[in-house]
Symmetry: none
Subunit: 223 residues, 4 copies
Amino acid sequence: MNIHSILNIFYGDSMIAEADIDVKSDKYNQILDAAIKVFAQNGFHNSTVSQIAKEAGVADGTIYLYFKNKDDILKEFFKYKTKLIFEGFRGEVEKAGNAVDKLRNLIHRHLGEFQNDINMAITFQSESRQCRRNGIQIDDITKMYLDIVGEIVEQGQMEGTIRKNMYASLVKRFILGAVDEVIHTWVHAGGRYDLLTMADPLVDLYLRGIGSARFVAEKNDTE
Amino acid sequence: MNIHSILNIFYGDSMIAEADIDVKSDKYNQILDAAIKVFAQNGFHNSTVSQIAKEAGVADGTIYLYFKNKDDILKEFFKYKTKLIFEGFRGEVEKAGNAVDKLRNLIHRHLGEFQNDINMAITFQSESRQCRRNGIQIDDITKMYLDIVGEIVEQGQMEGTIRKNMYASLVKRFILGAVDEVIHTWVHAGGRYDLLTMADPLVDLYLRGIGSARFVAEKNDTE
Amino acid sequence: MNIHSILNIFYGDSMIAEADIDVKSDKYNQILDAAIKVFAQNGFHNSTVSQIAKEAGVADGTIYLYFKNKDDILKEFFKYKTKLIFEGFRGEVEKAGNAVDKLRNLIHRHLGEFQNDINMAITFQSESRQCRRNGIQIDDITKMYLDIVGEIVEQGQMEGTIRKNMYASLVKRFILGAVDEVIHTWVHAGGRYDLLTMADPLVDLYLRGIGSARFVAEKNDTE
Amino acid sequence: MNIHSILNIFYGDSMIAEADIDVKSDKYNQILDAAIKVFAQNGFHNSTVSQIAKEAGVADGTIYLYFKNKDDILKEFFKYKTKLIFEGFRGEVEKAGNAVDKLRNLIHRHLGEFQNDINMAITFQSESRQCRRNGIQIDDITKMYLDIVGEIVEQGQMEGTIRKNMYASLVKRFILGAVDEVIHTWVHAGGRYDLLTMADPLVDLYLRGIGSARFVAEKNDTE
DNA sequence: CATGAATGAGCGTTCATTCAT
DNA sequence: GATGAATGAACGCTCATTCAT
């Protein structure tokens, strides 16, 4: 009698069923992790299913019990794995009260998560721009991220900490692009330094820009 | 009868050969342009040499008279074509006197060049992150770009228009990342709006950030 | 509760076991019927063991408790199922006294049995010509059939209703081929008409041929 | 200067073009012949593309320059090769005047062609019943054959040599089925006897049936 | 007996590259 | 230089078969 059976006695099947909705099997994650590692090393197109199978410690055919085809592995990476991470961002944001703290939390978490799993970071960086094949999944993730940022900016504008009269969409891209580039550079350097130290200076750049006080003051006069 | 034929009559092939040292032959460019177009449509890995040959109006084998192999076409794209464009950036920068104008010119030109050749833009966006295979070429380009930005920032700091005490490398990535993301979004939208209108607002964001005057002022006090 | 269960109560398994020597178990037939159905739909080579298992309502592995391998299912079909049917032909033939009635009975039963089980008919038609793999089984069946026909013809010749001086083997093929083609056409039409109505006209063709009375008479003069 | 160039001078391109419409390239026939041979030995499904390539003396990839895929080879066999043969039947039929001679010519030619190319015969016999995949091609051939037979029967009925009041479609199947079975038996025996000797006795069976004169006469009285 | 997850050999197909013309 | 037919290595994927439970 295992833990599941015991739980069944107390809670019945329905509870277990609910819990299982999003929990993938061990092999699924085993293969997915192996794939991300292999993709990180060789790029998606230069990776073979056999390499993934070997890395995962399963037979080639086993891959196809858990994924429709090679493309599907990448799709699932974006649909399931990175989506999971990006959804965690929202939770982190909600921990903070004001917009500036929310932005700071978001960037901290963003850099932290990517630093935690460099294979994920590499694969995300390398393959997310190949949007032709991956379909709508990446857009979803990007949109979710941009939405979080958008809400933060709006809140900040109401709080008076973020200035108004900016192209909303441009601001969001501006923030995403900068953090993305910072991660890209870190990945490119082999992850050999602490990515998290970039968080505060980056947020500082978002808020104050690179212009000097004098320069900014002048500009602000005309606003 | 074109100018080359005429010149041949007077000078013979040898002279032309000398002149060709850095100027690539017609067919070289013909094939490279075709390749970029095909890459833009299908991505590098989903493009075949035959497709490129057909698009260029040459036989498959002809490709191999001008390029070592398929990978080499992409390498040459980064080494020759985009490098050419990025070198143009430097000229544009030099036209301006102060750092702020230089930055503005750079961003204008950057967006302008990519808007001018959407196939180049798509291919650059899609394939430049696949650095594993392309070797050192892209790094060169990125480095050159970052160097230009670095020089501008330094000059601005001396001129007093750009604030000091920032991580130099972070600032450069910050600028590159934001413009890159803006281009990416434009490409993703199918190039259906005027990319150049993004230039001034973008430069504004670089210089002033998104923080309100009040917020920036407070921060500046502590600087 | 079926008859087997009742018998079990009185006699126990041992008696059943004896009786089962030639009677195949329920699951054996269950799987075989499912296989024939799947083969009829997809053809042998385009059918998978999994499809058969699903159709039979058993696990994939269970198939291998009753059959050596996939090929063996087809072999057993020819060895057991169709053989059973073809042996029934002999009984039908023996019900009649003279050769002509025997032939008529045979053709009636032949068409009737195939009409009764269109999956069997389709599979028999489609796969029986692939003799390379199925080995000797089909030959056995064909031989048995030809033997029956041969005996009828001999009897008819003795009775004076079937003419002599014909190639015995050719006559047998002639009869088999025609009925086979009639079934094939019916199968090809999706079994949408009553196959049995073809029996009498077919027997008529066997006996009288297609030549007119005048033509036949002339020929008979020279015999 | 080859024969084609010379002909061009006299006849121009149009004539060559016309002649080329149905003439397939050497390699096409080389591969098709090899495929039929391999199919004849192993059956379509148990043959590999590599086997065909080796038999044809070309590389695996070369197959795909002339055929869309493995299935297409079989399709082309039915569309091009056997169609060619079956169209030859019509020519043979037209050489004769009366229906009986036409039928005799048809059967002679039919047996002759199959005897000439046993690989074709085997493949045709084995694969033509697998109509699911091959699509409409085989039906076309069968229909063409049945049409020829149908015309002959009609003509014979008008000439008074073939009796009336028979199911037209049944008669046609009856003839096709019998000759097909005769070929099948010959193929099955490894083609070790002269198939052509079966032609006359077979036609005799078509016309007079197997009933004795007495039997036939009795029947004819009631007609 | 029954299961079905796991296996891995084997095949169809693609396509970068070569080379005889 | 230019061609494009031919090549064959390599890969994604299937599915008959096994075996631990």
